[in-house]
């Protein structure tokens, strides 16, 4: 727990400064969480919805937050769970309309007005969307957020060994995709 996070929590727990503390927490973590979510759900509108839901959960749970874990880890955990729930909802909707979520995400990438199929960065995004959900989360947390396995195991409740294996498989699949597309 960083000193700054402890101070923010103290502010939040004081009824007079609760909203001020909450706003400061949002300011500190919004971008990191936004990109973590955006890489998973692709579209800005979806990422915005999920991010708002994340902070509503944070507001509800922060009173009972135990400071034996880092605020940063706890926030990532909520954001990841919220992402997975969102994608589960999308899957259910897709099942009703006989659509597939993966192809839906790929279509969303292609529909982005900045999409350029010749750029590797976009190809990488396409490759990430081909991965199974868990591998997608592990890859983005490691590759983009540079999260150590130890911390990731607290976020995802998975052993470090399993995470390493997951990351290894994800990288190989991405490499395969990029070389063949």
């Amino acid at each position: 727990m960083t000193i700054q996070d402890t101070e923010l929590l103290l502010q939040f727990r004081n009824p007079d400064t609760k909203e001020k503390g909450f706003t400061a927490i949002i300011r500190k973590y919004q971008e990191k969480l936004y990109w973590h979510i955006r890489r998973m759900v692709v579209e800005h509108e979806d990422a915005n919805d999920v991010l708002q839901n994340v902070f509503i959960r944070v507001w509800n749970g922060l009173e009972n937050f135990r400071e034996d874990s880092q605020l940063y880890t706890w926030l990532y955990r909520i954001a990841t769970n919220e992402c997975l729930s969102y994608m589960e909802q999308q899957k259910r909707k897709a099942a009703v309309s006989f659509d597939e979520v993966e192809s839906g995400l790929t279509n969303k990438i292609v529909a982005d007005k900045h999409f350029d199929p010749n750029k590797l960065e976009w190809k990488l995004q396409m490759a990430i969307q081909q991965l199974p959900e868990k591998q997608r989360v592990v890859f983005t947390l490691r590759y983009y957020d540079e999260m150590p396995y130890e911390e990731m195991s607290r976020v995802l409740d998975t052993s470090e060994g399993a995470l390493k294996a997951s990351y290894h498989h994800a990288v190989k699949k991405i490499e395969d995709y990029i070389l063949n597309h």
């Binding site: 909203e19 909450f22 706003t23 949002i26 300011r27 919004q30 971008e31 936004y34 990109w35 955006r38 890489r39 692709v42 800005h44 915005n48 991010l51 708002q52 902070f55 509503i56 507001w59 982005d112 900045h114 999409f115 350029d116 750029k119 590797l120 960065e121 976009w122 990488l124 995004q125 490691r142 590759y143 983009y144 540079e146 150590p148 290894h168 990288v171 190989k172 991405i174 490499e175 990029i178 070389l179």
Partner: protein, 272 residues
Amino acid sequence: MNGTNEILEELRSLSPSVAAISRQVPYVVPEGYFTNFPALALGRVVDWKDSKSLTYSVPEGYFDGLAEGILARIKGGAGADGDPVSAILARIGRVTPYQAPEGFFGELSPLLAVIRDKTPYAVPEGYFETFPAVVTARTEQMVARDTGKGKVVSLGNRVRRSAGWMKYSAAAVVAGLIFTVGWLRWHQPPGSGSKSPAEIANNLSKVSDAELQNFLTDQDTTLAQPLLNVSNSTATIDVNDTDLKTLLGDVPDGELKQYMEEHGGASDIATN
């Protein structure tokens, strides 16, 4: 962030081609999004709180003393014949409004139709009269225990005590059974199971001839058949003169002669 090099090295060892890709995310965020987001998120939280609080409301001070009030009513025997826990429920009563079609149970099973209203279980006499008091006592015990005044009885003790009671009961039942069977066997009158011929003859002498005649007349049909069967049977007894002499050896000649005179056919019977 620490470990950047370590992560890059790991990626290079896994896939140099993926490691060579820029980590720049190609997505774009609308301008000013992050500046406005905190206010937006806070607005959502406030909306959410309002929507929650507007759903239902309770009268002011409703929860103050609610727990104490309920506990006081339980202690006061609420729910028994006196003060009901809920006046509305008490007014509605316990009659179930559903009805089965007429004759439904009869068609289903005639046996069920007969027994459906008969509960085979029984409760100890006065159980329901004392039950509210027992519950009240238990409640008081719980309250006392919760406040640290009562004696804590572990579940293990209760189980052990009840198991001991069961053991003694079973032993008493078995002992009672053995004693009863033994007493009945030892106090059975001698020969009560079957009577000796002497006793039968003695008893028959007390019966009048008329009664015997009536009995034989009544039993005529049942006795006639076996006798008929005997007369029709092919079984015979071969008795020669030597055997006859041996059989009648102890009978004096005078008595034999008298018998022959009375019944005739004396020439057929050899004397001693």
